[in-house]
């Protein structure tokens, strides 16, 4: 037991690598804070384009969304970070990771917002228009708020997945939480930094994870 603790929860190691881990956590958090609003915005934009109700546009959007949903996020990152430079298109890891997360999640958020907009009864829009409210204002102030409420559960769940997906940044040498833990582990020859990083991820994300679980419970109960 003592040997186990010395390896997996070595106090000296933990104290010495904690500042490094916290600096990594900061990078992780900033990745999520930059990528999440951008993804939400582009997802909402895609969903609003569905409202144009142009047959060709709708078909193109479905194809794009399904493409985004069927390419693993890591494959996308590898293309952006390792393949685009062959075209002379080079970008810093931070930008590459944010771009990857935004493209990947535009598909997911777009699909969620689309379903949300479709879930708002048509008469809401008709009533707004009949009252002489302009179409953009009807969409923005009447339809979108109800749509967002209807899809709050998948939105929260996907936001959590986005935050978790920032860990792939470690594979393009971004010094975020997972990466610094790996570097530290190579220096101290014990897995404490990795265990500590996992614990930090858990501590930071767990409240959101509980929230998502509660939302999902409500959704599935409403289904029956």
């Amino acid at each position: 037991m003592q040997a186990f603790l010395n390896n997996f929860a070595n106090v000296d190691t933990f104290v010495s690598v904690l500042p490094l881990l916290l600096s990594g956590l900061l990078v992780t958090v900033s990745l999520a804070l930059v990528a999440l609003p951008l993804s939400l915005l582009s997802g909402l934009l895609v969903a609003l384009l569905f409202a144009v109700k142009n047959r060709v546009l709708t078909a193109v959007l479905f194809v794009l969304i399904d493409l985004c949903r069927s390419i693993p996020v890591l494959v996308l990152l590898m293309i952006i970070f390792y393949a685009l430079p062959f075209l002379g298109l080079m970008m810093p890891p931070f930008v590459a990771v944010v771009l990857t997360l935004v493209i990947n999640n535009t598909g997911y958020f777009g699909e969620i917002f689309r379903a949300g907009l479709a879930s708002v009864p048509k008469h809401q829009q008709e009533a707004g228009l009949a009252l002489g409210i302009s179409r953009p204002r009807v969409l923005l102030f009447i339809v979108v708020p109800q749509a967002i409420r209807n899809v709050a559960a998948p939105l929260a769940s996907n936001a959590l997945e986005l935050a978790k997906a920032t860990s792939i940044a470690s594979l393009v040498t971004m010094p975020e939480l997972l990466r610094v833990a790996q570097v530290a582990q190579a220096n101290v020859y014990n897995p404490t930094p990795l265990v500590a990083a996992a614990a930090l991820y858990f501590i930071v994300l767990w409240p959101f994870s509980r929230l998502v679980a509660r939302y999902e419970l409500k959704t599935i109960k409403a289904r029956y």
Binding site: F8, A83, Y201, L205, A213, I220, R223
Partner: protein, 225 residues
């Protein structure tokens, strides 16, 4: 245009590495299949165990689910591959990837199945008891069939999302589709293998994405009907 073709769709490079990349695809398919089968069965098992709840089961269930739903897959993968050897447990890249992904899917599907089981009205269980049907039979033949049906659209999305995590296997030297394409790319100094891999991923996952869209739509229609 010719330059783009030579860089991203180089027939000569693709021809040279085609065999390895297709082998990678096979490995991806294998890992995906194992993950889905193990993850769904694991989740179902946990959810059923939870039906006979006692304090110990409840605590283990809650901790297991929250841990595997909250920590990123890549972090768990690295813990299994780089940390467990310190405890004397050295797993191959294939076992590491399958174990990690199916544990994560187990956590998600256990939660979904459990929620669906709870959503079945209590009256069903009472009716079964009144008809003198045993506890196991009630769960197996009355509750589970309805609960599984209720969970399918949600699970389908989740299973696809986690199965796409097979690409993370490349990070622990598993020569699956992405891994084989990456090594081909670095040897050939040309990204065409990666383009090919991306195309194959799309071909592999598009039918699943369409299937889940169809399931989702069908269940929505049922609800409205």
């Amino acid at each position: 245009m010719g330059a783009i073709e030579e860089i991203f769709f180089n027939g000569e490079v693709i021809g040279r590495y085609w065999g390895e990349i297709v082998q990678g695809l096979m490995l991806t398919a294998e890992v995906s299949l194992l993950t889905v089968v193990l993850g769904i069965m694991g989740g179902l098992l946990l959810a059923v165990l939870k039906c006979f709840s006692n304090v110990v089961v409840d605590v283990i269930f809650a901790v297991f689910i929250d841990v595997f739903r909250t920590i990123p897959i890549l972090v768990i993968l690295f813990l299994v591959y780089f940390a467990l050897p310190y405890a004397g447990l050295r797993l191959s890249p294939l076992v590491t990837t399958v174990a990690t992904l199916s544990l994560v899917l187990t956590a998600y599907s256990a939660e979904t199945f459990w929620v669906a089981i709870q959503a079945i009205p209590r009256g069903q269980t009472d009716a079964a008891r009144a008809l003198n049907i045993g506890a196991w039979s009630t769960i197996a033949f009355i509750i589970l069939p309805q609960a599984i049906r209720l969970s399918i659209p949600l699970l389908c999305n989740r299973a696809i999302a986690i199965t796409k995590g097979t690409a993370l296997g490349a990070a622990v030297a598993l020569p699956e589709l992405l891994g084989s394409a990456q090594s081909a790319m670095s040897i050939a100094a040309n990204p065409s293998p990666l383009t090919l891999a991306a195309g194959l991923y799309v071909l592999f996952f598009i039918p699943l994405v369409l299937l889940s869209r169809w399931l989702e739509r069908r269940s929505t229609r049922e609800r409205r009907a």
